[in-house]
């Protein structure tokens, strides 16, 4: 088991290296002179020359790339072009907001999605099932940012129940969480339904029923446990994704989270911040995928032997 984890962690090194290379290349191709971004539009020639040297912009691409990697190994991701502060000094203060949003979103969407999926599957082809399936199909086709706008119009502008932007109380989080959770709950409900239906047709379910297990026990103990695997993958991926901040949701609701910060940084061409946060988020994603795989082994003992062998 530990050997497997170590192996997976080692695999992350070349991938992280490639991530850095790809983002570095994209950022290098982005038009806009960093010196102008920092110094403004009409800087004195001497200052331009000094700053170009300081940022190493006079050196060739590969030299700059490797010096970036070298610094990154010392956890030095450079200074933000806008604030001239270390990159992560800008990101960390935004993290709690995003973490709370991600946690609430994933919790709500998982509970809602799995529950509705189970109801749909257990009552296959009933009116409830058809309604739920069709609703989830529609929500799979609703763009997140438009759902945000619709929720704001309904709950803030018309009904005046909830604030439409900012932070301060948990009430500010209700609409953003709904806007991000509803589409992923819809998706999760579809997957859960398909999985449950497949599992319910297995012979061990018939055996369990034949042995006289009541319906509740069959559904939750036998069927759900086996249908859980793909659900875990989706939950893990969406949590990793949500940690990057649902950029657009945060933007629409004016939440000062990581996503909003990254979006502003991309628009302002603040290269070090975009680089640092992309690398950070990619590593979070990889760690999350490792945790998902470990959860597989925990839930399904037959998979455990596979890990042990490696």
């Amino acid at each position: 088991m530990w050997k497997y984890i170590a192996q997976r962690l080692l695999q992350m090194i070349p991938i992280t290296f490639l991530v850095i290379f790809i983002v570095f290349a994209i950022m290098d191709a982005t038009p806009g002179d960093p010196v102008r971004i920092i110094l403004g539009n009409d800087p004195p020639a001497q200052a331009v020359e000094d700053l170009t040297k300081e940022l190493g912009l006079d050196k060739p691409f590969m030299v700059r790339f490797f010096s970036y990697v070298g610094n990154a190994l010392h956890l030095d991701f450079g200074l933000s072009y806008r604030t001239r502060q270390p990159v992560f000094d800008g990101i960390w203060p935004k993290f709690p907001t995003t973490l709370l949003l991600a946690f609430l979103t994933v919790t709500v969407s998982t509970i809602l999605g799995v529950l509705l999926g189970i109801i749909s599957a257990v009552k296959e082809y009933s009116a409830v099932d058809i309604t739920l399936t069709f609703t989830s199909l529609i929500f799979a086709s609703v763009p997140g940012f438009w759902l945000c706008l619709m929720l704001i119009i309904l709950f803030s502008l018309k009904l005046h129940w909830l604030p439409s932007s900012g932070v301060g109380s948990i009430r500010h989080f209700i609409l953003p969480v709904l806007a991000s959770a509803i589409p992923s709950a819809a998706y999760l409900a579809r997957i859960t339904r398909t999985q449950m239906l497949e599992v319910m047709r297995q012979e061990y379910i018939r055996t369990a029923r034949a042995k006289g297990a009541d319906n509740k026990r069959v559904i939750f103990k036998h069927a759900l446990k086996n249908a859980l695997l793909p659900i875990i993958t989706i939950t893990g991926t969406s949590f990793a994704g949500a940690l990057g901040g649902s950029m657009i949701t945060e933007r629409v609701f004016g939440l000062p989270g990581v996503g909003n910060y990254i979006l502003t940084s991309v628009q302002a061409k603040d290269v070090p911040v975009v680089m640092g946060s992309t690398i950070f988020l990619s590593i979070i994603f990889m760690v999350m995928m490792l945790l998902v795989d470990l959860a597989y082994a925990w839930i399904n003992p037959t998979l455990r032997s596979r890990f042990a062998k490696k």
């Binding site: 790809i22 994209i26 086709s141 609703v142 763009p143 706008l149 119009i153 657009i248 975009v274 990619s282």
Partner: protein
């Protein structure tokens, strides 16, 4: 002569296969509805200029008729600059369909080539290609698209390229894994035993098997592409106003949404209806192409 006979056999089989697919697809009413709506949207986009003139109705500003509600003359009302919303929606369909079709085509071809190359070459080449795809896969998708589109300098072409690049790794993975699974199947071994060359095996047996999966994935990705492109324009990183792109229209309409609710409702509904139709179409197609999927 022997060769011709075999060719004929495959021909009849594939045509009856298509008929089978169409027969199964037709039975699914929701998917048929999706297909019909998609065809209507495509027709609207093609004949957009006939329905409403681009320059005078969708772009030119008429301040004297701004912010009007729906009427016989302006079916969807007018926006803050007095432009006809119906004209803008219809012309906006061109953008959305262009994104969906162009990006799908580019990433499909790119992904297939890369995936096939990886599985065919094997060894180090395969390993390197897969690690690069892994790197793309673990970067947050929307962030990658946004950075790419800002690097390429916002506009129709750069959005298409950015969204296509983000789509390539997915197709490449599918093609590679299908190719690897199929190459171990018994009928491929049988084909090899019959003395067929690699090219014939790849084109005749492996590609057709991968294709149904690729078509389903391509159909399913259309809705996502339409929504992503709209999101890009909405946050100002895509098509810029005054172009009648649906996302850009939402961004413009947002300022007025308190009093003029329809300005954010109509472009949004256009996106939802288009995306939903593509999803229904994809759903039906995946069931029709792989009957095993449906119990």
């Amino acid at each position: 002569m022997f060769g011709r006979k075999k060719k004929d056999l495959t021909k009849t089989r594939s045509s009856s296969g298509l008929a089978d697919v169409w027969f199964r697809f037709r039975k699914n009413k929701l998917s048929m509805a999706g297909l019909i709506v998609v065809v209507i949207i495509i027709l609207l986009a093609i004949f957009a200029d006939v329905l409403a003139d681009y320059d005078t109705m969708a772009i030119e500003q008429h301040p004297e008729i701004r912010l009007q509600g729906p009427s016989a003359e302006h079916w969807f009302g007018t926006d803050a600059y007095g432009r006809d919303m119906f004209a803008r929606i219809v012309h906006g369909a061109r953008y959305s369909l262009t994104f969906a079709l162009a990006c799908t085509a580019i990433s499909l071809v790119g992904g297939t080539l890369i995936g096939a190359a990886a599985s065919y070459a094997g060894g180090i080449v395969d390993n390197v290609i897969m690690r690069i795809l892994d790197a793309f896969y673990c970067m947050p998708g929307m962030l990658l698209t946004i950075s790419l589109s800002s690097a390429l300098g916002m506009g129709l072409k750069s959005i298409i390229i950015a969204l296509s690049i983000s789509g390539v790794p997915g197709y490449a993975r599918i093609v590679r894994s299908v190719m690897l699974t199929i190459s171990q199947q018994e009928y491929i071994e049988a084909a090899r035993a019959c003395g067929f060359g690699s090219f014939r095996i790849i084109v005749g047996h492996m590609v057709p098997n991968a294709i149904s999966m690729l078509i389903v994935n391509a159909m399913m990705s259309m809705a996502g592409l339409i929504m992503s492109a709209a999101a890009l324009s909405y946050i100002g990183m895509g098509i810029q106003p005054p172009a009648p792109e649906w996302g850009a229209m939402l961004q413009e309409g947002q300022t007025y949404m308190r009093e003029y609710f329809s300005m954010v409702l109509i472009p949004g509904l256009a996106i939802v209806i288009t995306a939903l139709s593509f999803n229904l179409l994809g759903d039906g197609l995946s069931e029709a192409l792989d009957p095993r999927m449906k119990d």
